[in-house]
């Protein structure tokens, strides 16, 4: 398997706080990789650093596209997205006053071209592009089962629906790597199971890899090919679910003294 995303020695300091400390992580083509760790371990910070929202203090992030290796550090978030990394947010960040369909259409922005002149002239090329964007967005809504409410305002959706909409919006950017930050947070078990199915389906239907932050251990263990564990900004373990489950350091640090499994 060839790597899609390679992160080496990533560190991030906030003043005196070292939120990330020399973290390595590799994702291969088609993999689902989970990133777990207790609250405040630095998982979200890791996402922010590799998507360009924060500038990492040290380390490198490389995206492999075919034969090309693209260095992502120093790139702006929109460039990172255009290169093929899309994310969702832990504390949902939809465009609340736009409709569900419009939310997804915004995700199409970096894959479309029409500018101001096109908007004013409404030439056939622009019209075709807009229509294509509408239809693709609608199709994505169908895949997350939100097509029936496509005309609803996003803020009126239920919590679970908002999370699914965020995934659809991220998918609209046609990513190579999809980053999900606690997609199951606030969902009930039923919704979580549906979400698992959705994520699996996305992986199968599109050629992409998924990096997942999640606190729901059931979901993490059943879905991921590999798991990375973080604590206090450092990576303390990496391996298959079975390995992680039996790793004493993880059990102690992350799962506490109580037993899991």
């Amino acid at each position: 398997m060839k790597p899609v995303l390679e992160v080496k020695g990533l560190s991030k300091n906030f003043g005196g706080l070292r939120a990330l400390n020399d973290v390595d992580l590799t994702i291969h083509q088609g993999e689902i990789v989970a990133l777990i760790g207790p609250n405040g371990a630095g998982k979200t910070t890791f996402f922010n650093c590799i998507t360009g929202i924060y500038v990492p203090t040290e380390g490198s992030v490389t995206l492999h596209k075919g034969e090309q290796a693209i260095v992502l550090n120093g790139k702006k978030p929109h460039e990172v997205t255009a290169l093929g990394m899309a994310r969702t947010f832990q504390n949902i960040r939809l465009f609340p006053d736009m409709t569900v369909l419009e939310n997804v259409m915004v995700g199409r922005h970096c894959r479309t071209k029409a500018g101001i002149i096109g908007a004013l002239l409404r030439d056939p090329i622009t019209r075709a592009e807009t229509q294509d964007s509408i239809d693709k967005s609608y199709a994505l809504l169908e895949s997350v089962n939100l097509h029936e409410v496509y005309h609803e305002t996003a803020r009126n959706l239920s919590y679970g629906a908002q999370r699914r909409l965020e995934i659809a919006r991220a998918m609209a950017t046609e990513p190579q790597v999809l980053l999900l930050d606690e997609p199951a947070a606030g969902m009930n078990p039923q919704e979580t199971r549906e979400l698992e199915g959705l994520v699996q389906q996305i992986r199968e239907q599109n050629e992409l890899s998924i990096l997942l932050i999640e606190h729901d251990m059931g979901m993490v263990m059943s879905m991921s090919d590999r798991i990375y564990v973080m604590e206090y900004g450092s990576r303390i373990a990496a391996g298959t679910p079975a390995e992680i489950r039996s790793n004493p350091q993880v059990i102690k640090a992350y799962l506490g003294e109580g037993d899991y499994a």
Binding site: F14, T44, N48, I53, Y54, F89
Partner: protein, 302 residues
């Protein structure tokens, strides 16, 4: 001779600066607690000047001694401004807690326009002369060439006020509660601090400071007008940003620095661009160092 001119400008700048500082404190206090640019703050200052004018006018007809009038007028201005500040917050800002960030700002701008026109309509659009109420200080004769009685009074009063405020914030229970709320409102509330009361208190204190500034400037300049609040407010805000918004020593420092800058450019270069200078400083600071001289950088959390 040249040095004397320099001293004159220097003290003139300090005088101005201390007024800016007094008003700037109000901006900084409010911003520190609810992250709102209280746009109507300049108007409260203007209302303070007007209230003092009215009270002084009333007392003036009764033949009260001048120094006594000044004190009573200042007291009245402080009380009424505090009431205006309190009401302002209850009417225009409190209903907007939790609204998108720009809503309270727009509301504040609306309130500023409203208050200006309220004074315009109920009083007058002309400049009104402010009675001469300042006592003469004998000892000032020696340095009279660099500092008049009003400069002296302004410097002393504003210094005392700022010291008092610092003590209040540092050592009293209410002051501590204010600091706690500014640092972390949720946490402060969990610890039993009534955030609503603290916010009201902040507006009251800030407005009282602005009132003192208003009285001082009115007796210094000798006239007031309904739109003096806008420019003074903007300059004071500049001072607050210059020093680092949210920081009390910053507001004082910023006020002084701005006052001195203005005084020296007016004295050595030209008076035409005095206001441009203030706005220029405001823009440059906000763009290049939005945390000001003493402010702490804040990182936006994602």
């Amino acid at each position: 001779m040249d040095f004397q001119y320099f001293l004159e400008l220097f003290f003139g700048g300090l005088t101005r600066g201390s007024i800016y500082a007094l008003i700037a404190l109000g901006y900084t206090l409010v911003y520190g607690i609810i992250e709102l640019i209280n746009f109507a703050h300049g108007e409260v200052y203007m209302i303070g000047a007007f209230t003092a004018l009215i009270v002084a006018g009333l007392l003036g007809f009764t033949g009260f001694p001048a120094a006594g009038i000044l004190v009573v007028a200042a007291l009245a201005a402080v009380i009424w401004c505090a009431a205006y500040g309190y009401t302002l917050e209850k009417v225009a800002y409190k209903p907007l807690r939790g609204a998108p960030r720009l809503s309270p700002l727009i509301s504040a701008i609306g309130m500023s326009i409203f208050l200006q026109n309220y004074v315009l309509l109920s009083q007058t659009s002309d400049f009104v002369p402010f009675p001469r109420l300042l006592p003469e200080f004998d000892f000032l004769e020696y340095i009279g060439y660099i500092m008049g009685p009003s400069d002296f009074l302004i410097l002393v009063t504003s210094t005392c006020t700022m010291v008092a405020l610092t003590c209040f914030i540092r050592y009293t229970k209410m002051g501590k509660a204010m600091r706690a709320t500014a640092q972390n409102r949720k946490m402060a509330m969990l610890l039993g601090i009534d955030a609503d009361r603290i916010i009201s208190l902040t507006f009251i204190v800030g407005s009282a400071l602005a009132a003192i500034g208003g009285v001082l400037i009115a007796s210094h300049m000798g006239q007031v007008n309904f739109n003096i609040g806008f420019l003074a407010g903007m300059k004071a805000f500049t001072a607050a940003v210059l020093g680092g918004i949210g920081s009390l020593p910053g507001a004082m420092l910023g006020g002084m620095v701005l006052g001195l800058c203005e005084s020296f450019t007016t004295g050595y270069i030209s008076g035409n661009y005095e206001d441009v200078l203030a706005f220029g400083i405001l823009i440059v600071i906000l763009i290049f160092r939005p945390d000001g001289i003493l402010g702490k950088a804040k990182v936006q959390k994602v």
